[in-house]
């Protein structure tokens, strides 16, 4: 941070720093408070740890999974499916957005279908996918793709159209072709929208993949959660959810980091 230029400014800077510190400390306090209440409640018998598990049991489960080598298998499976679903969904979604931008008539014709597809809970298609594609990884990835695809298309297309409205007249007065309008104005202006779409679809892909794993899978965090629920091993469920929390947060921050890089 910059050095103070006056007494009052120093006071102002101190206040800003103090506020920032308070926020960070409070965040840590919330987490620690939650974890210790949970642990304490289990130890003191406020609730049955067999049903609600406890932080120490979650930790033990994760360590055990790590020890017998299963942890990386499940994390790897889910992560691979999610990253694949996310990348394919975003890429396809962006390409469809480009196509619809290029052909306004097609966009007009397909608009109601896009609206319906956007509103439809894609998860409902799960059983259909299994029948069509088979009970395996492919179905799970396709689920991840489907869930992120439509939202990407809609977000990116709207970004493109907004940029077009704005600058179309200027480009026409300069005598620009459609391709030039796209490459020089619409695409660069659409980059921030593309990144907001990434942020949304990264979360969406997790949803798609976990649900996909609920339906068909032999490995993965979604599989562990369902399996744990079925055999009443709530420690396993909670441990998987905890790992999932960490992974999802890491992936979100990776995209947010990318966003910061691109914007500056």
């Amino acid at each position: 941070m910059k050095n103070a230029v006056s007494e009052a400014h120093a006071k102002y800077l101190r206040r800003i720093r103090r506020d920032a510190r308070t926020v960070v400390l409070s965040r840590v306090a919330v987490l620690l408070g939650f974890l210790s209440l949970w642990e304490l409640g289990a130890d003191l018998g406020w609730f049955d740890p067999f049903i609600l598990s406890s932080p120490s049991r979650v930790l033990k489960t994760i360590v055990r999974l790590y020890a017998d080598g299963a942890l990386w298998l499940h994390i790897g499976t889910t992560l691979l499916e999610t990253v694949l679903g996310f990348l394919l969904g975003t890429l396809l979604g962006a390409l469809i957005a480009v196509l619809l931008w290029w052909m306004p008539k097609l966009n007009r014709i397909l608009d109601p279908y896009l609206v319906v597809l956007n509103a439809l809970p894609k998860i409902a298609l799960g059983p259909v996918l299994i029948v069509w594609i088979g009970a395996g990884t492919a179905s799970i990835v396709v689920m991840g793709v489907l869930v992120s695809l439509v939202v990407t298309t809609v977000t990116v297309l709207n970004g493109f159209l907004a940029a077009t409205d704005e600058k179309q007249l200027l480009m026409r007065t300069l005598g620009a072709t459609k391709l030039q309008i796209f490459t020089k104005v619409v695409l660069p202006a659409g980059v921030p929208d593309l990144i907001s779409a990434l942020k949304i679809s990264v979360g969406m892909s997790w949803v798609g993949v976990i649900v996909g794993e609920y339906l068909v899978s032999k490995a993965g965090l979604g599989y562990l959660i369902v399996y744990g629920g079925q055999v009443f091993k709530l420690d396993l469920v909670m441990a998987s959810v905890t790992v999932l929390c960490i992974l999802a947060a890491l992936m979100y921050y990776a995209v947010a980091f990318l966003e910061k890089k691109v914007r500056t």
Partner: protein
């Protein structure tokens, strides 16, 4: 006698909407002379901007014709808003038109940068548009247009989105630039004072459908800057004449 650069002959234009047909311009005859600054004033919504779109070729007249003195006459259009691209620096914005028209050479680039230097924007070449004031942005937009070396500049209310002080200063500066570059220009405005302070001739349009009511010759020397014109005694006489013409 100056030669005619561009001529509108019996031009009419009708817009079509679901509700019907709106005649925007009716039997318009108007020419722009080489080296002149022509202002068009008229009530708002009367189709002044449409005239510029017709000259630019963005629209085709329903009847009548738009003629130019030479086939390869180059046109430059300046819009009400600067429309600078946020993701490009000032210098990249200035080169946009040249890029689009595949005329970006070392020479044309050097000339565009020279314009930036001459008109006080040289130090801002690597800035992003968001870092500039409204007046500076509009000046960058003008240089983007001038970089194309147009023979005829079409100015579509280029100052109306600015605050009053910036507006007077920028108008003064833009006029100097246009005069010193020896360009011909058509300025569309609803501001009578702006028209008198910039133009050699003022064309007064009627309300829709737009017809040409009259053309008033402004007797100030061509190179007298707008702010100086505003303090002349004759300024108010011109104002009154145009004001009366504009009354329905």
């Amino acid at each position: 006698m100056q030669s005619e650069l561009m001529k509108l002959e019996n031009v009419s234009l009708a817009y079509h909407t679901l509700a019907g047909e709106t005649v925007a311009i009716q039997n318009l005859n108007l020419s722009v002379l080489d080296g002149e600054f022509l202002a068009i004033v008229g009530p708002s919504g009367c189709g002044k901007t449409t005239v510029l779109s017709l000259i630019m070729g963005l629209m085709r007249p329903t009847s009548g014709s738009v003629r130019f003195s030479g086939k390869d006459l180059r046109l430059g259009y300046m819009l009400q808003r600067d429309h600078l691209l946020d993701h490009r620096t000032v210098e990249k914005n200035v080169l946009l038109g040249l890029e689009v028209q595949h005329r970006l050479t070392e020479q044309s680039k050097a000339r565009a940068f020279e314009l930036l230097d001459t008109y006080g924007l040289g130090d801002f070449r690597t800035y992003k548009p968001q870092q500039l004031s409204g007046g500076m942005r509009q000046k960058v937009a003008l240089i983007r247009t001038l970089a194309l070396e147009p023979d005829l500049l079409l100015l579509d209310e280029p100052f109306s989105a600015l605050d009053y002080q910036t507006r007077l200063n920028l108008c003064d500066e833009v006029c100097r630039i246009i005069r010193s570059e020896g360009k011909s220009a058509v300025l569309v405005t609803h501001d009578i004072s702006e028209a008198i302070s910039t133009a050699d001739r003022v064309a007064v349009f009627s309300a829709r459908p737009a017809t040409l009511k009259t053309v008033i010759e402004i007797g100030f020397p061509k190179d007298m800057p707008p702010l100086e014109r505003r303090s002349q005694a004759a300024f108010h006489d011109y104002f009154d004449r145009i004001w009366k013409e504009l009354q329905p």
